[in-house]
Structure formats: structure tokens, C-alpha cells
């Protein structure tokens, strides 16, 4: 259909929606102090927060891949009682406000939490208010994105390829690594990117479970919030711009390499 023939009742809301999405970004760019940008970029606090953000969101993505891909496979390929319940439970963190997620994590993995108590007394491991805690908080919020994306990819993939592999003498594990994984690789990559982006932007669960200690648990979103609270609007704008540029650059780079169909 040519652009000129799009019905007005569809065209107007579509354009409004686009403006609604783009306008805040324009606002951000308009208020950016371009003159002092370079100086502020190299402030040690900014570099530390950025490094911590990239490190934790990448680790969280790895953790989500290790746990989430098998979970998605189980949901897509094995019929077990309560499968629908499990699938519903997985989507809970999606709708749960992240702050509530953070409190739940404290109650489970905190020093006096359900499992945290045991971790502390047996192994001397404490998760809250550590960098590891940031990774945990981000993973908790991001995992459902990965599981749902990968399960969708697995359901979309033709399971008869796995049958063909079986007739050639391939056991289930080898079939998974040699046939299933390569077939759904684009879906896993898409899920990982979604998962990483969610982890990078994570705020509520992180600040609740891991706190806001510069250099240890203060990721970029937390740094933006704190700078803003302290009355330094210009600083907050610079930090936001960095977060925006980094995430857009990485998403664009990955899209060209991974997210196009083979």
C-alpha cells in the first residue's frame, strides 16, 4: 500500500504515537550541555557507574542464558504435569513491580531470608548490597524475557529435525546441542538482547536488594536518580545521554550481526 492511501483513523494515532516516543528523547538532547560534556564524561563516578552497569547486565544475561534456555526447552519440548502453572509463574516477574521484586529477593536471599540465612551460615555468602546482588536482581527481572523469547523460538522450530537427528543415532543431549540450538540461535540471540536491555535499565529491584553504593552497586540508572535527587539536573542529563547512546549503539551493532534471519 502506498503511504498516501493509509486511512486517516490509523495514520493520526500512529504519528501521534511516534511523536510521543521520540519527544522525550528530543528533550534530552535539547538540554544536553554539549560544551562541558567531555569533562563530565570522564568524571570517575560516571566511568565507574558505566563500567558496573555493563559488567552486571552482561553477567546477568549470561546467567539468564545458562538457566533460561534449558527452562525454555523444558517448557517447549517436555509434557509434564503443571506445565501451564510453571509457565504462568515465569511471567509473574514481568508484571510484578521491580521494587516488590527487590523486597521479595531480600526476604528470600537476604541475610535473614529463607535461603540467604543458610547461605550466610554455611558458606559465608551474603548477596544483598554486593555487586553479585546487583546481578541477581537484574537476572530476576530479565529472565522471563529470555525464557519467553526462547520458548517461542523453540515452538516455532520444526521438531521433526530432532526426529531426523534421532534416526541418525543422535541422543537427546547431542540433538539439543547440534540441532536444536543452531536452529533456534536467532531466537536465543533476540531473547538475550532483550534480556540484556532489561538488565541494563533495571532500577527498582536493584536499589531495593543491592542498595546504592557508588562503585559497588550503583549502576547507571541509580546514578542518574541520585544525581537528579541532589539537584544536579545537568549531570543527570549527561548520564542519561550516555546510557541512551551505549544501549542504542550495542542494540544496533547486535541487530546487524545477530538479529537478521540466516
Amino acid at each position: 500500500m502506498k503511504p498516501g492511501r493509509v486511512p486517516v483513523p490509523l495514520l493520526v494515532p500512529a504519528v501521534l504515537g511516534l511523536i510521543f516516543l521520540i519527544l522525550p528523547l528530543v528533550g534530552l538532547l535539547a538540554r544536553t550541555p554539549w560544551g562541558s560534556l567531555l569533562d563530565r564524561l570522564t568524571e570517575p563516578g560516571v566511568v565507574a557507574a558505566l563500567r558496573l552497569s555493563l559488567l552486571t547486565s552482561t553477567l546477568a544475561t549470561v546467567l539468564c542464558l545458562v538457566l533460561g534456555v534449558p527452562l525454555a526447552w523444558l517448557l517447549a519440548r517436555v509434557e509434564f504435569p503443571g506445565r501451564r502453572l510453571v509457565r504462568a509463574l515465569i511471567t509473574v516477574p514481568l508484571v510484578l513491580p521491580p521494587v516488590v521484586g527487590g523486597i521479595a529477593l531480600l526476604l528470600a536471599l537476604g541475610r535473614r531470608g529463607l535461603v540467604g540465612q543458610w547461605l550466610d551460615s554455611t558458606f559465608g555468602i551474603t548477596l544483598p548490597f554486593t555487586t553479585a546482588g546487583v546481578v541477581i536482581a537484574e537476572s530476576f527481572v530479565a529472565l522471563p524475557f529470555l525464557v519467553i523469547a526462547v520458548e517461542g523460538a523453540l515452538r516455532g522450530a520444526d521438531s521433526r529435525y530432532e526426529e531426523a537427528a534421532a534416526t541418525l543415532g543422535s541422543g537427546r543431549w547431542t540433538t539439543f546441542t547440534h540441532v536444536t540450538l543452531p536452529l533456534v540461535a536467532p531466537g536465543i540471540a533476540a531473547g538475550a538482547v532483550l534480556c540484556w536491555a532489561r538488565a541494563l535499565g533495571e532500577f527498582g529491584a536493584t536499589i531495593t536488594f543491592a542498595g546504592n553504593y557508588p562503585g559497588v552497586t550503583q549502576t547507571m540508572p541509580l546514578a542518574v536518580y541520585q544525581t537528579m535527587e541532589s539537584g544536579d539536573l545537568e549531570g543527570a542529563v549527561v548520564l542519561s545521554l550516555i546510557l541512551l547512546v551505549v544501549s542504542v549503539a550495542i542494540l544496533a551493532g547486535l541487530r546487524d550481526r545477530w538479529l537478521t534471519a540466516p
Binding site: 520444526d158 521433526r160 529435525y161 526426529e163 531426523a164 537427528a165 534421532a166 534416526t167 541418525l168 543415532g169 543422535s170 541422543g171 547431542t174 547440534h178 540441532v179 543452531p182 536452529l183 540461535a185 540466516p262
Partner: protein, 351 residues
Amino acid sequence: MTGVLLDARLAVRRGTFQLDVELRIGRGETVALLGPNGAGKTTALRALAGLTPLSADGRLLLDGRDLSRTPPEQRPIGVVFQDYLLFPHLSARDNVAFGPRRHGRDRKAAHAVADHWLDRVGLTEYARRKPRNLSGGQAQRVALARALAVDPTLLLLDEPLAALDARTRLETRGELRRHLSAHPGATLLVTHDPLDALVLADRLVIVEQGRVVQEGDAATITARPRTDYVARLVGLNLFRGHGDGHAVTVADGFTLTSTDTVHGDAFVAFPPSAVALHPHQPDGSPRNTWPAVLADVQHHGDNLRVRLDGPISVAADITPAAAAQLDLVPGRQLWVAVKATETRAYPDGSQ
């Protein structure tokens, strides 16, 4: 044929559908499992491969080994799937090497096996191509090479030519025949195309609604069909009835006369080309004449195939010249004549 290699009772229950097929295949023998859609052919193949479990009364013996409960990856059975299912992320060579690798060969040895088989099917120069860059005929040959590369005792082919266009089909059919006759194990071919079955197989097993209705070599089956499906397959009109000498009563009070002699339950068969049509009641030699109503006319090669309703429904093949004189519109009243010498009557052995 030196003894039975495959001895199976393929019993599978799936909801209301029930498959129960006895199958024996000798060493070096190719058997075609032929039947209409939904007859259970593919279910039988999947049961042999281990992809669909046999029910308790099922049995699968291959070369003396009981494989009834063996998982698919441990059965010495190769499968060529209908749409080939070549792994899209692997080259033709790696597709063929996949089986040998899983059977414990190292990468180099597996590639040597793959190269050998790709050479056998004439695709050496396509070894590095991905399946999406292969034509239908080439993909079919890679799928055959992949199934044969693990030296299967039993080779299964599911409609191996169905996905090809008419011309490729002709070439591939001849080539497939060569590879199947070179295969030392047993081969089972599942098809709904009688031509594939006749060209490729030594013996036909015909299934309808999950049961074997007839089996034997091509000559026997084409000469003496036992069901409507088989008769249509080989292009014959077929009627079951009760024989008393030369007369076989096939419908309520309607009798066909044959030069053959039968007593008791019997079949009468005649080709559509033996059916003559007349505008008025014919006199003279034909022993079988009856009035009929034209139901349908279709092109059939250079001739027309006419379906007629009456005391019995028959198909007739007539030339366009004859058709021009008869004014063939549905509902037209005609007289049908079939010479007794052109009919075959034979006993219904299943009784």
C-alpha cells in the same frame, strides 16, 4: 532373497485410529507400502523408526534382534523423510557426516564417509552447499546419502519423490531404483503413487484403514485387485459378488457374465477401455448390457473417462470421436456394453 530380515507387527493405537500391519522384508528386498491418504502408512514408518511407540501387542524383529522398545537413536534404521529434513545450518557434507559422527567416528573419518556417499549420488561438487541452495532433486539425493551413510539394516523412505516436480521425479525415480537395488539391507518405501511402487519395489503391500488388504508382486495385484482402491489404482472396474459358473451376481439381481468360471464369493474386473457406450440398446455379441446414466466426464490422457451410474457404477474410457457422437452431458441415458471375453472373474481368496 536369503531369509527374512525384518519381521514386524506394527500395532499402534491413536485415539480411534488403529494400525495393525504385519510386515516381513527379506535381505536386499524392497517393499512398497501403498495406500490412500490416512491409511496409516506414515504411522507404520514412524513405528518402525521408533518415533511412534508400538502398543503392547506390537513386535519388531530386525536381523534377529528385538527392537520393539529400543529408542530411535539405537535402531539400525535409516529414514529418508518426505520433505527430507536436511539440517538447514549444515552443509550437504556435514548433513551426511552427521550420522557417522554420532556413531562414534571422528570428524575426519565421518567426512570421508560423507564424501564417499556424496560421490555415489553424484553430488561431490555440491558438498559445501547449504540445503537452501540445493534443488529439490539434489536435496533428495543428499537425504538418501545421509540415511545410507550409517549403513542401516533397514532403510525407510517416506514418499521420497512426492516433493519433486514431474520431470525431476522421472530422473530421480530411475536413480533411486539403482541405489535401492544396491542396498544390501531391507528397504521399505511408503507411497501413494502406484508408479513409484511399481518401479521401485519388488513387492507391494497395500494398506487401507490401518489394515493390509492385499499383498504380492505387481503382476498379481494389477491382474487381481481385491478392493476398490486397488482397482482404481491399477485402472480397473472391480465388483465383488457371488459366482455360479460364468455368471457372477454383483448387485441385487444384477449379473455379469464372464468367460472365466467361478463358484462362491468372487470378484469380476474389467478395464474401462472394455466398456462400450451406445445411445440405444445394442444387439449382437456383448453378453453384458444395461441402461445407465452419465454422471461425470473427465480428460484421461488422450481419451475421456466417463463415470456411469446404474445398477452398478462403472468407468468407461472412450475416444473423443466416440464422445462427439454420444452427446455426453450429465444425466444423459446411455446403454453400457461389456464383452464377456474382456472380463476377468476370480475367487475371493480372503473368505
